[in-house]
């Protein structure tokens, strides 16, 4: 077997490419084919593939050329002024020795850590010692002091640490059966230490229980601060990648943050994650990735992908002994303590995206303190639902600690230098910028002198200092100043301080205008940024002015197709959405056109979604459909499935499809929305609540009442787990829908309870608004069914009152439902005119005009109630025809049941009983599949059918129907005469028939 010469290699190379992309079985088949067609190529290829297998087995070139060393046999030897006494342990980073001072000066014991390190000659001592000195400056009562760091003449790096005698924090807590609050208080000490380190720009990177010791007197000590970086910040990464290779190192990433495992940037938020894992362990005794042994690969996958379950949910009843031993309480009590706020706090620290966690250890501590004080916590998951913050993509600084402010400024300044092509040596500039930074640094470290109080400058303070300084300084170097204003503006935005953010961005825009001119691209960008930040603050007119000026600049530069143009167009579309739909639509279309040239930009999905949304708002659902579909596809392709936006896109797609009466597709979309929300956010998130609710409502409306109720029920549970029953925003919606669905099924009393909760909530939080009016109408509906006319009328009147005062029609209930209430509450003439005046929207081609059909059925019911049977039958008939012919028939069972009932009854009254029979049987059948046996609507069908049987001489069947009806209606304490009177009448008929027979 000779080596392949270059020509042969070139020949076989493309085949090798192909072969390597195929999976084993496909490869074998493909090779077979190749052997027939190009036997010589196939032969060479086979050799290479054999080689490939050998390479994989032997791990050729997998290991880097240099390897760790390992010190042994050191007892009695000295390094620096410490003498080794005995080995203490073997950490993941090397051996640790107990040592004492060999110069006899202090009786202080120390731990000397020899770090596993390859040797490359006697270089790098300076750097190691320099960084060690930085770590050594960390002085805090809860941080184990670094006494010395150095590299021996043999090239062996070592660290001398304060020797801590203590127990691991989890063991400490368990042994003393500390309760939840005590554990949190201990944990706050840990947070204080980490916050101090962050303020000094040191990230721990390896926080785990074994690195957090507690001494006998209860003092917490954190070990190994920043040592991971000292080794080489990427050292951990190397260890992890070797996991996936053969013969990987024993390093377990149990406490690693997702970004550490995926080679992302490590920031202070990484420490926050690890702290959250620690807290999770302390509060539940379990690791967020579950208990039991995992293979390294599984664990990595679990950390990176799987959303952790709520702490309270992993405390199960069978853990009683463990819980008693460790916490001194029962699983039930522990669960109750964790549920709600504490769950939310921990989960916030465990978010996969660093920017969604607590930005600093300080913020983490603050929320825990709020919890202890019984105040509301901020750990509420953000919903991506509402359109308000669309293109205000928060910059991923990842963290907004004091440290990060300094870091970001440094980077910002550095970048400004590059961009301005200013050489480092130009002294005037350098001095100005260095002085600026120095002052900030000093502010940052101002409180380091006082370790007892352990104060540290918060991000907010530093930002304010920076903002104040930048106003008056850096006038010589406008580019740098612009950069700083940008950085500071972004950081204020990240902290949610929009007013300050706006102020700085405004300054920046002014400066850019001066520096670059009125027609510069930079100005357009700056104006757009400013406009974006003004979303909540600032006047509409001003915002419009900014956006239009930005547009003018782009127009003048004849820039019609850049991403900036597109982004600006979307902002304009969003801006005009509430005032000028046509313009909004126009802009959104333009945005899509441009973004289509950048098919890999996630902004394309958002722009498609916008256009679709706007089209659907102006009732052009057919045109909206393909766009919303595409938004979903593009989003899934670029950001993966699931991602932060997919649930929202799917949900609005579903809504549109429902409007077009494409029910099967709509159901798919709603289900996908739920799936995406669940997978991306986990069970306890607002987006999951929203999607459960929407799916639930959809199912109820399309005749899958039980299933729909289940989903709405789940939404309710999520509400209670993540917020509270009094939540002003979500609770009323959820309770309303839950109540309505229950009532519809037949549980009138139960349903009413929930709807009333919704009413009370709205009354408290949104009095006099159309939101309250919506709830009142629903309440009136149920009260009506229960025969409580006076209350129904009262509710209805209040709703009407609000409608008049706010000049806002309440579109919540459908016209026919409202008409029904109006009629029953003595507003009959209003009802009639409402029904008559109803004009359905321009019918979408092919769509079932559901609203018109409902109104028609309402009219038929009215006619029948007035005794006008011919009209009733005449009105009902076409509805039945339309439904029978429709492919959406199965989704419209409720409507069909109503129509069949009214027509059947009309026929009965017209003496056409045999024609009535199939209709009434159909009505009953439909009701049986959608509502409970106790439902009065079901009873109505039974009663009408009983009347029919009597007409046709079938007394027995009539009797059994009536018996059933009586049982159903009997389960209700209160019921409207709409239901009870027909029962009385048919019972009378039964009695008289029998007496007639007897007689």
């Amino acid at each position: 077997m000779s080596t392949l010469n270059p020509e042969q290699w070139q020949l076989v190379s493309p085949y090798l490419d192909k072969a390597l992309t195929l999976a084993d079985e496909d490869r074998a088949k493909w090779l077979e084919v190749l052997r027939h067609e190009h036997p010589d190529v196939a032969e060479h290829l086979q050799e290479l593939l054999d080689e490939h297998r050998a390479v994989q087995q032997s791990g050729f070139l997998e290991k880097a050329p240099f390897l760790p060393q390992d010190p042994r046999g050191l007892a009695g030897q000295s390094i620096g002024s410490y003498r080794m006494v005995s080995p203490i342990g073997n950490g993941g980073m090397g051996t640790v020795w107990l040592a004492e001072r060999s110069d006899g000066r202090f009786e202080r014991k120390a731990a000397v850590k020899f770090l596993s390190a390859g040797l490359l000659g006697r270089v790098g001592e300076e750097r190691f010692e320099r960084e060690g000195a930085i770590l050594g400056r960390l002085s805090h009562p809860n941080i184990a002091e670094l006494l010395d760091a150095g590299v021996s003449s043999g090239g062996q790096p070592y660290l001398v640490l304060e020797y801590i005698e203590g127990e691991r924090i989890d063991v400490y807590c368990d042994k003393r059966k500390l309760d939840v609050r005590a554990r949190i208080r201990l944990f706050l000490d840990v947070l204080g230490a980490v916050a101090h380190a962050h303020a000094n720009l040191i990230i721990h990177r390896d926080i785990k229980p074994s690195n957090v010791l507690v001494s006998k007197d209860g003092t917490v000590k954190l070990l190994d601060f920043g040592i991971a970086k000292l080794l080489d910040g990427e050292g951990q990464r190397a260890a992890v990648t070797s996991l996936t290779h053969q013969g990987g190192s024993p390093f377990t990433p149990q406490f690693a943050a997702p970004e550490q495992l995926t080679n992302g940037a490590v920031t202070t938020a990484t420490d926050v994650y690890e702290l959250a894992v620690l807290l999770y362990v302390l509060l539940t005794g379990r690791h967020p990735s579950g208990s039991g042994t995992h293979s390294a690969a599984d664990l990595v996958k679990s950390i990176v992908e799987t959303v952790a379950p709520r702490g309270s949910s992993v405390i199960t009843a069978d853990m009683a002994t463990a819980v008693a031993e460790k916490f001194g309480t029962t699983p039930e009590r522990l669960r109750r303590q964790l549920r709600g706020d504490l769950d939310a706090i921990v989960l916030k620290g465990l978010r996969k995206q660093p920017s969604q966690r607590y930005t600093t250890a300080e913020a983490f501590a603050e929320d825990l303190k709020r919890y202890l004080a019984g105040e509301p916590v901020i750990a509420q998951p953000e919903s991506t639902w509402y359109r308000s913050k669309k293109f205000l993509s928060r910059h991923r600084w990842g963290v907004a600690s004091g440290a990060a402010v300094v870091l970001a400024l440094t980077l910002g300044l550095g970048a400004a230098l590059w961009q301005a092509h200013i050489a480092r040596r130009e002294s005037r500039t350098a001095t100005a910028m260095e002085k600026f930074l120095e002052d900030i640094f000093r502010a940052n470290s101002a409180h380091q002198e006082d370790p007892v109080k352990a104060r540290h400058t918060s991000a907010r303070e530093l930002l304010d200092i920076g903002a104040a300084k930048v106003e008056n300084e850096l006038t010589d170097v406008p580019e740098a100043k612009i950069r700083i204003l940008d950085t500071l503006g972004n950081m204020y935005f990240d902290l949610g301080l929009e007013d300050q953010s706006v102020r700085l961005r405004r300054k920046r825009a002014d400066l850019i205008r001066w520096q670059y001119g009125n027609n510069s691209m930079e100005l357009a960008d700056a104006l757009a940024d400013l406009g974006a930040a003004m979303h909540a603050s600032g006047s509409v007119a001003e915002r419009e002015g900014l956006l239009l000026e930005a547009k003018r600049i782009l127009d003048q530069r004849r820039d019609f197709s850049s991403k900036q143009r597109a982004a600006l167009s979307v902002m304009l579309a969003e801006h005009y959405e509430s005032s000028d739909l046509n313009q909004a639509l126009d802009y959104s279309r333009k945005a899509v056109e441009v973004y289509r040239r950048y098919p890999d930009d996630a902004a394309l999905a958002e722009s498609l979604y916008w256009e679709g949304l706007l089209l659907s708002t102006v009732k052009r659902g057919r045109e909206a459909e393909p766009l919303l579909k595409e938004a979903v596809q593009v989003s899934a392709r670029i950001d993966g499935n699931p991602n932060a936006n997919l649930a929202r896109f799917y949900a609005y797609l579903g809504q549109n499809q429902q409007d077009l009466t494409e029910f099967a597709d709509a159901e798919q979309s709603f289900r996908q929305a739920l799936l995406a929300a669940r997978k991306f956010n986990g069970e306890d998130h607002i987006d999951t609540l929203e999607t459960e609710l929407r799916l639930g409502i959809f199912l109820v409306v399309t005749s899958r009442t039980s299933e729909g109720l289940e989903h709405i029920g789940r939404a309710k549970e999520i509400l209670l787990r993540t917020r509270s029953a009094d939540d002003p925003f979500y609770a009323p919606q959820v309770y309303l829908e839950y109540g309505r669905a229950l009532a519809y099924k037949g549980g009138l009393e139960d349903g009413l309870v929930y709807v009333q909760k919704a009413v009370e909530n709205r009354r408290k939080n949104r009095p006099g608004t159309r939101y309250l009016a919506q709830m009142l109408e629903a309440q009136a509906n149920i009260l009506l069914d229960m025969g409580r006319y006076a209350e129904a009328k009262q509710a209805m009147d209040e709703a009407q009152d609000i409608a008049e005062k706010t000049k806002f029609p309440t579109p919540y209930l459908a016209v026919d439902e409202r008409a029904r209430i109006l009629i029953a509450t003595d507003h009959a003439s209003e009802a009639d005119s409402a029904l008559e005046a109803f004009h359905p929207a321009v019918p979408l081609p092919g769509a079932l005009e559901i609203d018109s059909l409902r109104v028609q059925v309402s009219r038929a019911e009215n006619a029948l109630a007035r005794g006008d049977r011919e009209n009733a039958a005449r009105l009902a008939a076409p509805v039945i025809q339309a439904l029978s012919a429709s492919t959406a028939r199965d989704y419209m069972k409720s409507l069909e049941a109503r129509a069949a009932l009214v027509q059947g009854r009309a026929y009965l009254q017209l003496g056409r009983s045999s024609e009535a029979l199939p209709l009434l049987e159909r009505s009953l059948e439909l009701r049986q599949s959608t509502v409970d046996p106790t439902s009065p609507m079901l009873a109505s069908a039974q009663i009408a059918l009983a009347e029919c049987y009597l007409d046709l001489g079938n007394r027995e069947q009539a009797q059994s129907m009536v018996a059933n009806a009586r049982k159903s209606l009997g389960t209700h304490k209160e019921l409207s005469s709409i239901y009870t009177r027909p029962l009385q009448e048919v019972e009378k008929r039964l009695q008289s028939a029998s007496s007639h027979q007897r007689g």
């Binding site: 050329p65 240099f66 060393q69 010190p71 043999g154 000292l230 190397a238």
Partner: protein, 184 residues
């Protein structure tokens, strides 16, 4: 350094072998200087090499009036780095251990695990051969094995997909493995 980095790169790309030499010489001296200053005995040293290369780029680019293409820089620098690492391996073996304190001697270390500078030289020769047949494959090996860049980083640098980079890595390994086998 008289000429700027970008002009050196440009010259090397369009010019003769001596222009390439000039570039390599400049890179070598620069990297060597940085290595002496920066390389510490810590961890898996291949990764500190990437830091080194990043710093080298920033350092050299700072003195430039234009910004040389980072990806191209890395390609050349990785090649030079290969030489540096082999040189260091050779030096280390030759280096005498002395001084005040000796935690361990080289003899205690597991000999078999240490990469032999001779073996590395052979790999280097095979790589030179590979470079003649398919330059990009050799570059991937320099970047990954000698410099320790990850697949993702290489993919970004060379504007390829990660899967493509992995495939190139596999192909390169196949080639090199064959070469070294038949060498014996």
């Amino acid at each position: 350094m008289d000429s700027s980095l970008s002009s050196l790169i440009e010259a090397a790309e369009t010019g003769s072998a001596s222009d390439t030499e000039a570039l390599f010489a400049a890179l070598y001296s620069e990297l060597h200087r940085l290595a002496r200053r920066e390389l510490a005995g810590r961890g898996e040293v291949t990764l500190s090499v990437t830091t080194l290369l990043h710093e080298a780029y920033l350092d050299m680019a700072a003195r430039d009036s234009r910004f040389p293409d980072r990806a191209r820089f890395m390609g050349y620098a990785a090649r030079v780095m290969r030489g540096l690492i082999i040189d260091h391996a050779r030096n280390r073996r030759a280096q005498k251990r002395g001084g005040k304190f000796e935690i361990t001697t080289l003899e205690n270390a597991v000999e078999a695990d240490l990469a032999d500078d001779a073996e590395l030289s052979r790999v280097s020769d095979a790589l030179d051969k590979l470079a003649k047949v398919d330059e990009e494959l050799a570059e991937v090996v320099d970047l990954k094995f000698f410099c320790g860049f990850s697949f993702a980083e290489i993919a970004t640098m060379k504007k390829l997909s990660e899967r493509t980079v992995q495939r190139k890595w596999e192909k390169a390994r196949i080639y090199l493995h064959r070469e070294l086998r038949t060498d014996l």
